[in-house]
Symmetry: C2
Subunit: 413 residues, 2 copies
């Protein structure tokens, strides 16, 4: 008998009919003899409806009260799912985050889970019940309702799995697994059977939207095997776990997947008279304005003047550009440059660690298509490049083929 | 400085605009220096929306899960009201029933409050905050969410007032007070400045829908002065309190109000061979089918055969009639008779206790209009009659005039 934590997102529980379909899925697993804990999100659209009510009163409502408000979304889902399970003859009990003591800090709207008391859940499981827990929420040590921020239901599921020492944490979503890259761009993209936490983290942080980064970090930290599966189709999904040390690395593909995004814009400041602390002066001022910086590259020219290039979210571009102008003046820099017609592209794979020449293969594939690389950064299991946006699809397909990721069965799109 | 508990019902908080209007009312009281605890209902329509979601899954959903579901309605309101108060510069904190330990029994859907721990609320009040509490809900000793049943927000407010030893519990509603009778029937009906708990209880149980019976009982038991006021207009409302012993009874009107309803139907069983326990045999079987019985009258005829007449809710008439047929056969009774064209009418007033001839005045006023009385029952502060439904308005107006309740200012309708 296994203990499985399942998580169903907003789309999977988006209507009464879908909740009934989820109940049937859960009931099947329950009848197979597994102990089941189910974490659910609010019905899709519900959280936005609640936020709009709040915004009609105050554009910046108090965060404590926002949490009281939006946490009702998941509470509705847990009750409805238990009703649907009960209707199928499966005894089930619903709990809010506070009721099962999902203890968080008091950072309303972006709280972090500190501890879960599994006793109550275990008692229900032992009594043969399915336990349904509201995702995305908890309570602080004073009993105030907190939320983990949007998408936090994945984190709830992983934290429950860790606290209960579950055998697997299954994240049900609208895709049937993690793919080598976005199938809408490369029709020969393949579903991966397995991927490591580290790879998944890189994929997620590079733009793959399947899982929240925090939940993957959490799963890796507590070594909770994660499985991404489809709510709507049968199938094994993709298992995300620790690297299997015994596995023959030679058998493993060098690159597991290709992630990309078009959400960023690039800023460059050139001809900064070189002096210690230049990077801090430039990037510190941007960060101080709460603008998140992604890729950073710095070079020093022959005349010892420095050039710093970095990317920010496109929504932050104009604010960042304004700040950078001021900084350039203060530092006596030559010029600044802003470009929002860029895309970021990464190849990810633990296989890179034991294979030489991966970067060369990547650059060759791009060169063959005459795609100019504007920026390069590397980590142990990832190489990221920034290119002109219009070449993105071409680049992804070229790399997908170049690293032997194409499915043999599907037609090339 | 007074401690006031205010309660706003579903219509009063039925939209963002109305919640903002309530916030302004609360803010005004707060600025006058009163300590304020506010209990609120779900926004009107919200509870029904949630019930429909549940019914789409199961016509008879588990009661525990119904409570988890519908309790979200008030939770939305408390958060929005606190946001609106905050926007007006008034610091406010929202709490669910469970959070302020409104401890109830575990009768889901119709739980009764057993205890309230006022410490947390008092700490907030001492810190100058307005406390907003979700009405209609609590939690049992295992922490399961419970609801008090529909309309239970009044009871929450009274229970909070009792626990906090409040100076007054103000129930804001869509009428500006308690009237001598329904102003839609008698245009000269007058708002009462004061009424006793006992009178209000009789008015409520006879069909006046302004307050829930349980909340009036509760207020009487703990001697919490209740005031019914309008959410939409200014005015003193009606104060419901213990009888003032010092008050000169001669000054007080004999009859405080006239209540009526058309929701009932009458059943009669005649010619029951008289034997001990006849009433129990007849009415016990009806009650066993969970049909609530209101007025009961029994007479014995010359031949010692008994006649029992009683009223039930019209919705229960056909079921009750079927049962009564069976009972008549079992007891060897002569016949049964059912009538749903009746109305019940009561005059209520503590003044009756010290005045003779009140019943005679009542019967005279009805006789003058040629209205036949089918049943009569009396209590210490109430006389109830059942008459043909079509004479109801005529009877109410005749009694309103007969007992000098007509407002001198308004035109007769």
């Amino acid at each position: 008998m296994s203990l499985i934590v399942q998580k169903y997102g907003g789309t999977s529980v988006g209507s009464v009919e879908r909740i009934q379909a989820v109940a049937e899925k859960v009931a099947r697993s329950h009848r197979l003899g597994d102990k089941l804990v189910v974490a659910v999100s609010a019905m899709s659209g519900e959280t936005n409806r609640l936020i709009e009510l709040a915004k009609a009163i105050d554009a910046q409502p108090p965060l404590r009260e926002m949490d009281v408000l939006v946490s009702t979304g998941e509470q509705v889902t847990i009750a409805l799912l238990c009703m649907a399970l009960n209707k199928l003859g499966v005894e089930a009990r619903s709990y809010t985050g506070g009721q099962v003591r999902i203890l968080t800090d008091n950072a309303h709207g972006k709280a972090r889970i500190q501890q879960i008391d599994g006793h109550r859940i275990e008692a229900d499981l032992d009594a043969g019940r399915v336990v349904v827990v509201a995702g995305f929420q908890g309570s602080d040590e004073d009993g105030n309702i907190t939320t983990l921020g949007r998408g936090g239901s994945d984190t709830t599921a992983v934290a429950l799995a860790a606290a209960l020492n579950a055998d697997e944490c299954q994240i049900y979503t609208d895709v049937d697994g993690v793919y080598t890259t976005d199938p809408r761009v490369v029709s020969r993209a393949q579903r991966l059977d397995k991927i490591t936490f580290d790879e998944m983290l890189e994929m997620a942080s590079q733009g793959s939207k399947i899982l929240q980064i925090r939940s993957v970090e959490f799963a890796g930290k507590y070594n909770v095997p994660l499985r991404v599966m489809s709510s709507f189709e049968e199938g094994p999904g993709t298992l995300i776990s620790l690297e299997d040390e015994d596995e023959d690395q030679m058998e493993k593909a060098v690159v597991s997947g290709i992630a990309f995004n078009r959400d960023e814009a690039k800023l460059t400041i050139r001809g900064i008279p070189d002096q210690p602390g230049v990077a801090y002066k430039v990037l510190g001022a941007i960060s101080a304005a709460n603008i998140e910086i992604d890729v950073i590259v710095q070079n020093v020219a022959k005349d010892n003047s420095a050039t710093i290039t970095f990317t920010v979210h496109r929504n932050d571009l104009s604010q960042a550009e304004g700040l950078l102008k001021q900084i350039a003046q203060d530092l006596g820099a030559l010029e600044i440059d802003a470009d929002d017609q860029i895309a970021k592209l990464s190849i990810v794979g633990v296989g890179m660690r034991s294979h030489a020449g991966v970067a060369a293969t990547m650059f060759e594939a791009l060169a063959k298509e005459n795609i100019n690389i504007q920026l390069i950064t590397t980590s142990e299991i990832k190489i990221t490049v920034v290119i002109e946006e219009r070449y993105l699809e071409l680049a992804v397909r070229a790399l997908h083929t170049g690293f032997d990721l194409d499915s043999p069965s599907a037609e090339q799109g």
